[in-house]
């Protein structure tokens, strides 16, 4: 299910990006909303199980995921209304929703990941998609905001990477080589 969720979320994002029809767009958004909800419910039933080797439904992840899903629905709705009221062009609308869905899916994956490197990769992806969202208006202020966001995030991600390196060093010191949070058998 996790794999299906991720793949379909990214596929939906891709479809929205490619599509220019407003009806199909809305349908896809609704599908994603349902998918997100369904996945949340699914994960609640698989508490403490590990899937695809790198994802674990642990309690912290679940809590955050539920919060995310609760926010997702009004966020999608609000985005829909906002885009509609501002008479956006189809292409900008497509980019907006694609980025939004991409962002939500990346956040979901980052919450559930149990390996620090995987989290790090998904965090980078959130940076990418969020910067697209910030640049939505394409004016001078938006550009400034995007630049600042991207630059600071890039530096912060670099620091996270340094942290991972240090962690791996100290793990070597302790005689281990594994960067995941919890062993599957510990659950």
């Amino acid at each position: 299910m996790t794999g299906i969720y991720l793949i379909s979320a990214f596929v939906i994002a891709g479809l929205i990006f490619a599509n220019r029809n407003s009806l199909i767009n809305n349908i896809l958004i609704v599908i994603f909303g349902i998918l997100q909800t369904a996945f949340t419910i699914y994960s609640c039933y698989h508490y403490k199980s590990t899937v695809l080797e790198y994802f674990t439904f642990d309690s912290l992840g679940l809590l955050l995921l539920m919060t995310l899903s609760v926010i997702t629905i009004p966020a999608l709705l609000h985005s829909y209304l906002y885009i509609k009221r501002h008479d956006e062009t189809p292409s900008s609308r497509a980019i907006y929703f694609a980025a939004l869905i991409f962002l939500i899916a990346s956040i979901t994956a980052a919450y559930l990941a149990n390996h620090i490197a995987v989290i790090w990769i998904f965090t980078e992806m959130t940076t990418l998609s969020a910067s697209m969202l910030i640049y939505h208006h394409r004016n001078k202020l938006a550009l400034e905001g995007t630049w600042k966001y991207v630059f600071i995030c890039a530096i912060s991600i670099t620091f996270v990477f340094i942290g991972i390196l240090f962690l791996s060093l100290s793990l070597q010191h302790a005689g281990s080589n594994d960067l995941s949070f919890c062993k599957p058998d510990a659950l």
Binding site: A117, L141, L143, E144, V150, T158, I164, L165, L169
Partner: protein, 210 residues
């Protein structure tokens, strides 16, 4: 030999601290790419061949050639003036960077870890702080980007220190390099140069709390 290369790497930091022209920064970044290529070649003996080839390609093609060329293109395209315009005089920059190196030496010594090659640690940490200092002390946005690239080089050096045991971390580092550089430079190329005519960071201060 690795140590020699790394010492040259630190010299490049000192050189960059007193450089007057932006093009010198670009050249130093290219030089650092080449040095990293050499270090990778000498250091990563134990990993798989294709992985090593990937890393080597990344250092030599991406760090030593592509990014510097791209930067040079940016400077030309956006008509960035050639002076570096630091907030602080070069003299102080030099003192500060020397201090950074000295402090990292002392810091490195205080760490009791036999797994860590100290010279890698010193070089990467001083590069990291130098990059941060660059970002903090230079006026132009493009020099910020260069400071960031320098930080990445430093991180890459650190990842090489553990590269033999965990090659996937080096790969991650490369991913970070490509991702962030492309993102940042892409934004720069497409937008900032067009929208803001004179690219000083002072212009990017409209978003704040009033």
């Amino acid at each position: 030999m690795t140590n020699v290369l790394l010492i040259i790497f630190i010299i490049s930091l000192l050189y960059v601290s007193i450089a007057n022209r932006i093009i010198t920064y670009v050249r130093v970044l290219a030089l650092q790419g080449v040095i990293l290529f050499g270090v990778t070649f000498l250091q990563l003996k134990d990993i798989q061949t294709w992985n090593l080839v990937l890393i080597l390609l990344e250092t030599v093609v991406f760090k030593a050639v592509a990014v510097p060329m791209f930067l040079g293109y940016l400077i030309k395209r956006n008509k960035i003036t050639r002076e570096t315009e630091p907030y602080l005089p070069h003299f102080i920059s030099l003192i500060i960077i020397t201090m950074i190196v000295v402090i990292t030496i002392l810091l490195a010594n205080s760490i009791q870890d036999t797994h860590l090659d100290k010279i890698f640690f010193i070089v990467s940490l001083s590069t990291l702080f130098t990059g941060l200092y660059f970002i903090a002390s230079r006026k132009k946005i493009i020099t910020h980007v260069m400071g960031y690239l320098m930080i990445e080089n430093g991180v890459f050096v650190l990842s090489l220190a553990v590269g033999n045991e965990m090659p996937n971390l080096v790969n991650l580092g490369i991913m970070l390099d490509v991702f962030a550089s492309v993102l940042i430079l892409g934004i720069f190329l497409n937008k900032i140069g067009d929208v803001f005519k004179a690219v000083d960071v002072d212009q990017l201060s409209n978003l704040k709390d009033y």
